[in-house]
Each structure stands twice: as structure tokens, then as C-alpha cells.
């Protein structure tokens, strides 16, 4: 089990690092897909099967395709990003902020006594449980989510719609 954790963590970490640092946009999206696969693997490792399958279905099946479509529709002439100023001020600021956030998280986790010794509980989820609680306890958020997704669908279509030029 340990080997699986380290392999999946390496996969997601390398995927995320490459996704934000590669030059070619399509290669960035491919490493983002590797990242999503690593996270889905983590979900399966944490006994959340339904969530892992949903992660693959939604993120790799829909969000990654959406990003690819957006890249295709907004292509620069050369197809890649222009010369990036490496080691410019913006780059150092971003890297510095990220390192500060990571350091804060690390120090907080290390100083919590339970975090080092907490062992996994007996939590196992079944799809039936999830379905029942979605329709009994969580029905209002479910309906609101439906309205939200419909609004997002209509909104995305309206925003990205081309203006129809009427030539008569």
C-alpha cells in the first residue's frame, strides 16, 4: 500500500509541476491529465470508489476536453506561448508565495500531534449510501446544484456565442 501512495503522489506532483511549467499548451494539458489520474488513484486508495470514478468521468472526460477545445479556439499564430520572462519579478513573486504557503502547511501539520499518529478509520462508502443520502439528507443542495449547472450551461453558451452578422 505504501508503494502505491508514493507512486501516485509522484505522478500527481510531476503532473502538476509539468502542467504549470511546460511551454507547449497541449503538453501542459496532457500532464494535467496525468495529475487528474494520480488524484483519482489517490481516491481509489482512500476507499472512495465512487468519487474516483466521478473524478475520471468529469475531470478527464469533460474538463480536460474543454481546456483542449479552448486552446484550439484561442490559438496564437505560433501555437505556443511567447517568450516568458524567466526569473523576472512576477515569477519570483509567484514562486515565493507558493513556497510560503507550502511552508505554512508543512509546519502546521508537523506540529499537530494527532496527524502523525492517526490511522485510517473504518469508513467505507457504497454507492447506495451515497444515493440515499443525496436524496434524503442532501436533496436541497442537489437541486441547487442542478440549477447551478443549468445556469452554467446556458451562461457558457451565451458568453462564447459568436455574434451573428446579418448580411442581407
Amino acid at each position: 500500500m505504501n508503494a502505491a501512495f508514493w507512486i501516485l503522489s509522484a505522478m500527481s506532483l510531476i503532473g502538476a509541476l509539468l502542467a504549470i511549467s511546460l511551454r507547449n499548451l497541449v503538453h501542459c494539458v496532457l500532464s494535467l491529465i496525468l495529475f487528474f489520474l494520480g488524484i483519482a488513484g489517490h481516491y481509489f486508495l482512500l476507499r472512495a470508489d465512487f468519487l474516483g470514478a466521478v473524478q475520471i468521468l468529469i475531470y478527464i472526460g469533460a474538463v480536460a476536453v474543454l481546456i483542449l477545445f479552448a486552446i484550439m479556439l484561442t490559438r496564437n499564430v505560433t501555437g505556443t506561448e511567447g517568450p516568458r520572462e524567466l526569473f523576472g519579478l512576477g515569477w519570483w513573486t509567484g514562486l515565493g508565495t507558493a513556497l510560503i504557503v507550502a511552508a505554512v502547511v508543512w509546519v502546521t501539520v508537523d506540529s499537530a500531534p494527532q496527524a502523525a499518529t492517526r490511522s485510517p478509520g473504518q469508513a467505507v462508502s457504497s454507492v447506495e449510501q451515497i444515493g440515499k443520502s443525496l436524496l434524503n439528507q442532501w436533496v436541497v443542495p442537489l437541486e441547487v446544484l442542478g440549477v447551478l449547472l443549468t445556469a452554467a450551461l446556458i451562461g457558457a453558451v451565451v458568453i462564447a456565442l459568436e455574434e451573428v452578422v446579418r448580411r442581407r
Binding site: N24, H27, L30, D49, V127
Partner: protein, 390 residues
């Protein structure tokens, strides 16, 4: 796979083999079986398709290589393997290589949850059907990457159309499967087949013989044909339309991999159709004691080949749908029909008397099918105006 493990466990007294070796064997044997059996079915499906299409078009299919063209797939394989592998100069080499690989992997993974016989499923996932749909949405990426990496405008256009088509037809397909999941009460493929067992001759409990099951079967088959880009939905790869769409610039083994991925996806989707609607391995004689599993496997493959033959038959006889008609059909007819099918399953489940359940669901589905067909296929074509003719 677990059955194999138990079988091997029972033979432990023969030799003192460690547990890890037994589990390794229990994992490797189903994988080897999948890798040999289903691509073998793919190879002979290509031959059957060419001969069947030939007969539909009033000619013989290939019959030179071997007695009735039996060795034709082997000849095709040798030809494709020895062809030169041409990559366009400005193409993205890594993505160009990755696209056919990503076309094959999801199609092979789909076979892991097909129950070919009683107790004969490689992995019994309790989220089986969700796994199937997650993996088949991941195969959309291969289409796009194949079109993008070739640096060819026609490839890109074919890829965009293919992705739009696949993504649009996935929705009614998944909703038709949701109806089956509602009726069976479980997402596991083994559970869905078990729900369809029993009945007279193990036939009458199949979901296809119930009104919502029949509509779901039609919806799912249409969606499966559109997923694998088979005629009448083969705009992405139609030779007279767009040369070869997203696999224009591929030659040799990469082209063979694309074909393998596409046909395997079609066979796997046919297998899922058989599992969900046609009772899987159920058929007369499957309950017998010792030869029951063998008969079950035989029934599964017989039904699978029947569905594949029907798909090939439809390819030979029906014309291609235009790309705007295709989208309109998916969003305006199939999607509402699949949602109303879900309502029909709910009605079926909660009505006490069978007769009323039959009448009400059949009437509901029939009325909505007629209404949607009238609405969805109404063409408002303007009168043609000629610009230069007098």
C-alpha cells in the same frame, strides 16, 4: 478472477506454492485471456464485415487469401506492420505517438467488467457501469489528440466533429444505462445480469422485453454506434467527406492501433449492451449443473456476434447522417427520450399490478416517441433562392 483464485487455492495441496504466486496467476490469466480472445474477435470481425458488406453490395468480399478469405486478417496485420511509419515534419511527435496508444487503452479496459459467464468476470467492481462510462469518456481524448498532432486542417476539423459527436451521444447513452441501473438496483455488471436471470427458459426476464428496456436498448445501441463512429454516424472518418478525419496522417502500425481501438470499443459497447439489456449470459440451459457456465459463455458470445452483425448490417444499408442533423437528433430527440425513459422505469417500479404497469409505461413511451419524432425531425428549410440565374 476470484473464482480462479479459489480454484487455485483448492489445488494448493498439489505443490507448496506461495500465496503471492497464486494471486499473480489469478491476475495474469484473465488478462491474457482478454488480450488474446477479444483482439481475435476484432480480427475476424474485420473479415466478417468486409464479406458481409460485399454481399450487401452484390459482390464477394475478400476470398483470395485462404479458403474463404480466412487468412485475410493475418495478411492485413502483416501489411500494416511492415508499412513505413510516416510522421509529418511539423507534427508534435510525442502527441502523435501517444494518440493511438490512448485510443487502445480505454477499449481494452472496458472488457474487464464484462461478465462472460456465471462467475466469469475479470473484476467484479461494485461501480461497474460507472467505470465503463468513465473509461469511455476518456477515449474522447485520443480522437482530439490524433487530429491536433497531425498539423493538418482536415484532421483538426475531423477531430472537432468527432469529439462533438461522441460527447453529444454520450449523454442519452448514459441516461439509458441509468434506467437499467434503477431497475437492477446496483451498478455492478454481475448484479445487473443476475437481476435478469430466472424466468421461463431464462429468457423472459431480460430487460429488453419490457417497454422501458426496449426503448433503452434502442437508445443505447444508437449511442454506442455513434460512440464508435460507425455508420450512419461516421462523419469523423468518412472517406468521401473528410478524407480520413483524425487519422489521415497515420500509417502503418499507428493506423492499425486506431482501427484496433475503434473496433474494440464497438465490440466492448456491444458487450455492455448484451449485459445490460439482453440478459448477459442468460439463456436456455444456463442453470444446469456442470455445463451451465459453458452454455452461458456460448450464449454471451452468440448474442455479442448477433449485435455486431446487426451493426455491420446497418453500416451496409443506411446512408450517412449530416453533421447538423446528427447533433439535432442527439439533443432534441434522444436526450428527452432517455429522460422520459427514466420516468417510465420509475412508473414501472412503483405500480403494483403488472398489467397496468405494462399499459401505462408502453402508452407513455409511445406517445412521447411520436411527439419527439414529429418535433425533432421537422425541417424548416427555406425556399431556395438563386443568385445569378434569371
Amino acid at each position: 478472477m476470484e473464482k480462479l483464485y479459489q480454484l487455485l487455492d483448492g489445488c494448493k495441496w498439489l505443490a507448496n506454492v506461495p500465496d503471492s504466486l497464486l494471486s499473480a496467476v489469478a491476475i495474469v490469466v484473465p488478462i491474457l485471456l482478454i488480450i488474446t480472445v477479444f483482439p481475435g474477435i476484432f480480427a475476424y470481425t474485420t473479415l466478417i464485415e468486409r464479406k458481409a458488406l460485399g454481399r450487401v453490395q452484390n459482390r464477394y468480399g475478400p476470398n483470395r487469401v485462404g479458403r474463404w478469405g480466412i487468412l485475410q486478417p493475418i495478411a492485413d496485420g502483416v501489411k500494416l506492420l511492415t508499412k513505413e511509419d510516416i510522421v509529418p515534419r511539423k507534427a508534435d511527435k510525442f502527441v502523435h505517438l501517444l494518440a493511438p496508444i490512448l485510443a487502445v487503452i480505454p477499449s481494452l479496459l472496458l472488457f474487464a467488467v464484462l461478465p462472460v459467464g456465471p462467475g466469469l468476470v475479470p473484476v467484479d467492481l461494485h461501480i461497474g457501469i460507472l467505470f465503463v462510462f468513465a473509461i469511455s469518456t476518456a477515449s474522447v481524448l485520443a480522437l482530439f489528440m490524433g487530429g491536433w498532432a497531425s498539423r493538418n486542417k482536415f484532421s483538426l476539423l475531423g477531430a472537432m466533429r468527432a469529439v462533438a459527436q461522441v460527447v453529444s451521444y454520450e449523454v442519452p447513452m448514459v441516461l439509458a444505462a441509468v434506467a437499467v441501473v434503477m431497475a437492477a438496483g446496483t451498478l455492478s455488471t454481475v448484479g445487473i445480469v443476475a437481476k435478469q436471470s430466472g424466468g421461463f427458459l431464462s429468457v423472459t426476464n431480460w430487460f429488453v422485453f419490457q417497454p422501458w428496456g426496449f426503448v433503452g436498448f434502442v437508445l443505447f445501441t444508437i449511442g454506442a454506434m455513434a460512440e464508435s463512429a460507425r455508420t450512419p454516424f461516421d462523419i469523423p472518418e468518412a472517406e468521401s467527406e473528410i478524407i480520413a478525419g483524425y487519422h489521415t496522417e497515420y500509417s502503418g502500425f499507428k493506423f492499425a492501433l486506431f482501427q484496433l481501438g475503434e473496433y474494440l470499443a464497438a465490440i466492448a459497447m456491444a458487450g455492455i449492451t448484451v449485459t445490460m439489456f439482453l440478459g448477459g449470459y442468460n439463456g436456455p440451459g444456463v442453470g444446469l449443473k456442470y455445463i451451465g457456465p459453458l452454455i452461458g459463455v456460448g450464449w454471451f458470445f452468440a448474442k455479442l456476434m448477433t449485435i455486431i452483425l446487426v451493426i455491420i448490417w446497418i453500416r451496409g444499408t443506411w446512408p450517412r447522417i449530416r453533421v447538423d442533423q446528427l447533433m439535432a437528433f442527439a439533443w432534441k430527440v434522444l436526450l428527452p427520450m432517455s429522460i422520459l425513459n427514466i420516468v417510465a422505469v420509475g412508473l414501472w417500479h412503483y405500480m403494483e399490478s403488472k398489467l397496468w404497469a405494462w399499459l401505462v409505461t408502453a402508452a407513455w413511451l409511445l406517445i412521447w416517441a411520436i411527439v419527439l419524432t414529429k418535433i425533432g425531425t421537422a425541417q424548416n428549410v427555406e425556399r431556395r433562392t438563386y443568385r445569378y440565374a434569371t
